[in-house]
C-alpha cells in the first residue's frame, strides 16, 4: 500500500516540477517587453559604445593635419607580435643637422591583439584607441594600412 502511495506521490511531484518550469517560459512568452534583441544595423544611431572600448589604434590629427609622433619606434618594440612597423626617413635640415622624422606608421589591423602596450609605451602620447568596430573588408591586404595621413607632419613644440 505504501509503495502505491509513493508511486502516485512521485508522479505528482514530478508533474509539479515540470509545471513550474513551464511557468517561467510561459511568463517570458507573455511579456514581449523583456526582449533583449538589439536590431543592428537599424539602431546604429542609438548604439552606445563605451569610450574605452578597444577597437583599433589611431594617430589623432588636429585641424592643421599635424600629429604628435616623433618616429622613435618605442611602440614597435613594445608590440608583442609585430603589428606595427615604423618607417622613418632622415632628412637634412637647412642648418646642416640631420633629423629623423616619421615617414609611414604602418599598422596591421589583422594581427593586432588590442593589448594596449603600444599606447602605454609611447612617450609623446601620440596614439590612442578608437572605439569603432566595423572593419570588415573583402581583401586581407586592405587591413594593412598607414595611420598617418598624407601630407601630415609633426606638431612643432611651441615652447622649448
Amino acid at each position: 500500500m505504501r509503495s502505491i502511495i509513493n508511486y502516485y506521490l512521485t508522479v505528482l511531484r514530478a508533474f509539479l516540477s515540470l509545471i513550474r518550469g513551464m511557468k517561467i517560459t510561459g511568463y517570458y512568452f507573455l511579456h514581449p517587453k523583456k526582449i533583449l534583441t538589439q536590431q543592428y544595423p537599424n539602431n546604429r544611431e542609438t548604439l552606445y559604445i563605451p569610450d574605452r572600448f578597444k577597437g583599433r589604434v589611431v594617430l589623432p590629427h588636429d585641424e592643421n593635419n599635424e600629429h604628435a609622433c616623433t618616429g622613435c619606434s618605442i611602440c614597435q618594440s613594445a608590440c608583442p607580435n609585430g603589428s606595427i612597423t615604423i618607417h622613418t626617413v632622415t632628412e637634412e635640415l637647412p642648418d646642416g643637422k640631420k633629423k629623423k622624422r616619421l615617414d609611414r606608421w604602418e599598422y596591421n589591423l589583422g594581427m593586432c591583439t588590442l593589448c594596449n602596450q603600444c599606447i602605454e609605451a609611447c612617450p609623446s602620447d601620440a596614439i590612442k584607441m578608437e572605439n569603432k568596430f566595423e572593419f570588415s573588408v573583402y581583401n586581407r591586404d586592405k587591413l594593412i594600412y598607414d595611420l598617418n595621413k598624407p601630407g601630415s607632419k609633426l606638431k612643432e613644440k611651441t615652447t622649448e
Binding site: 516540477s17 515540470l18 518550469g21 517561467i24 563605451p50 608583442p80 588590442l114 593589448c115 594596449n116 602596450q117
Partner: protein, 375 residues
C-alpha cells in the same frame, strides 16, 4: 541510475565498435577529439586526442618581455581571462618584489569574482543546451551580457581584456562601475531562483544527472583534479583559502565542499560558488579603498635569476605558472599548469561503464575549455 560493472565481460568478442566524437561537433565546448569504444550502449574506453588548437604559447612566451606575455594567457582559458592575467601580474611582482596598493588589490578581486560569475553563467547555459533544453542558454547569457558590458566600460574589452598588469591595473574604475555592479547583483539574486525552477528542480534534469559520473576522492588526488569537480567529491583545494593572494585572506566567504561526487553535486557546487562570489563582490563594492591604481615599474623589467611559481584559483581549478629566469628581460622557460588538462583525465574513470547518453551529461558538468588543454 546504476551503471553496469565495468569488469563484466563484453557480450560477444566482436561486438565493440569505435565512435569518434569530434573534433567538430556542437557538444563539447571546443575542438576535442574523443575516441569512444562502445559495446552496444555501454562505454568501454575513452581516449582523448589533443592538439587541434595547439598554438605554442609556452614557446612564444620565450621571446616576449615580462610586460608583453600576459595577453597570451587570456587566450588560454578565455572565460577566466582576468584571473589568468592576475597570475601573470602576481608572478612578475613576486620576482621584482613589489607590493601594490590596496585599491589595486580590491579592483583585481572584484574583476576576478565577476569573471567567475560570468564563467559559471556560461557553463550553466551550455549545460542546459547539451542536455536538450535550449531556453536556459538565453537566460544565462542575459546576465553574462550585463557583466560583459561592465567590463567593456572599465577595461575596454569583453573577452580578452589585458587589464591586470604588473603594478596594479591599467585604468582606474569607470565612474559608473559601482552603480552598475550593484544593479547586476540585484538582478542576479532575483534570477537565481528562476534558474532553480527551470533546471535544478526539473525531474527530467535530476534523473539525467543524479548518480551519473561518480568520482571518488582517491581518483581525484591521483589524477590531480582541482576546482569545483574536486570540491564536489570532498577535497578542499580552493587556492583562495589555502594560499591566499591579493587580499583574499581578509574576505569572508565559504569554500563549498560536498561529498557525493556525481554530476548533480558538481552542478550544485557551482551554483553555490556563484552565490559565494556574489557575496565577495558585495563585501568589496562599497569599501573600495582610495589610492593609486597602479605603481610605476621600470620600462624594462628584469627578474632576478631563479625559479618562481604562482598559483591562482580560476573558475575551473588551480592555474599555476612556473617561470625560470636567467636574469634577462625575457623568461628563459615558462610552463603553465592548466586546470583543464588535469580535469580531462577525470573523464575516463567517470565514463567507463556508463551509457553513451550519459557521456554528454558528464562532459557538460566537467566544464572543459579546450584551448586551455592544448595551450
Amino acid at each position: 541510475m546504476e551503471f553496469t560493472d565495468p569488469k563484466l565481460q563484453v557480450s560477444e568478442p566482436n561486438e565493440e565498435f569505435i565512435i569518434n566524437v569530434g573534433p567538430q561537433h556542437p557538444s563539447t565546448h571546443g575542438v576535442l577529439h574523443l575516441e569512444i569504444k562502445l559495446d552496444g550502449e555501454e562505454v568501454l574506453d575513452v581516449k582523448p586526442n589533443l592538439g587541434y588548437i595547439h598554438r605554442g604559447i609556452e614557446k612564444m612566451t620565450e621571446s616576449l618581455t615580462y610586460k608583453q606575455f600576459s595577453y597570451l594567457t587570456s587566450r588560454m582559458d578565455y572565460l577566466s581571462a582576468h584571473i589568468n592575467n592576475q597570475a601573470c601580474a602576481l608572478i612578475v611582482e613576486k620576482g621584482i618584489e613589489m607590493t601594490i596598493s590596496e585599491r589595486a588589490k580590491a579592483i583585481r578581486i572584484l574583476m576576478a569574482e565577476l569573471t567567475r560569475i560570468a564563467s559559471h553563467q556560461l557553463w550553466w547555459g551550455a549545460l542546459g543546451l547539451d542536455l536538450g533544453a535550449v531556453s536556459p542558454f538565453f537566460f544565462a547569457f542575459r546576465e553574462r551580457e550585463m557583466i560583459l558590458e561592465i567590463f567593456e566600460e572599465t577595461c575596454g574589452g569583453r573577452l580578452t581584456m589585458n587589464y591586470i598588469v604588473p603594478g596594479g591595473v591599467m585604468h582606474d574604475l569607470h565612474p559608473d562601475f559601482v552603480r552598475k555592479v550593484k544593479e547586476v547583483m540585484a538582478q542576479l539574486k532575483k534570477n537565481l531562483s528562476e534558474y532553480d525552477r527551470l533546471l535544478t528542480g526539473n525531474i527530467i534534469f535530476q534523473k539525467r544527472t543524479q548518480g551519473i559520473g561518480l568520482l571518488s576522492q582517491e581518483d581525484i588526488i591521483s589524477l590531480g583534479v582541482t576546482g569545483p569537480i574536486a570540491r564536489a567529491s570532498g577535497l578542499n583545494c580552493d587556492v583562495r583559502k589555502l594560499h591566499p593572494y591579493d587580499g583574499y585572506e581578509k574576505l569572508d566567504f565559504k569554500e563549498i565542499i560536498a561529498t557525493k561526487g556525481d554530476s548533480y553535486t558538481r552542478y550544485l557546487v557551482r551554483l553555490e560558488e556563484m552565490k559565494q562570489s556574489m557575496h565577495i563582490v558585495e563585501q568589496l563594492i562599497d569599501n573600495i579603498p582610495e589610492g593609486s591604481y597602479r605603481e610605476k615599474t621600470k620600462a624594462v623589467i628584469k627578474l632576478p635569476k631563479g625559479e618562481y611559481y604562482q598559483r591562482v584559483e580560476t573558475a575551473r581549478g588551480e592555474f599555476g605558472i612556473y617561470l625560470v629566469s636567467d636574469g634577462g628581460s625575457k623568461p628563459y622557460r615558462i610552463k603553465y599548469r592548466t586546470p583543464n588538462f588535469s580535469n580531462l583525465a577525470a573523464l575516463k574513470p567517470m565514463a567507463v561503464g556508463s551509457k553513451i547518453g550519459d557521456l554528454v551529461a558528464i562532459m557538460a558538468t566537467l566544464d572543459l575549455i579546450i584551448p586551455d588543454i592544448d595551450r
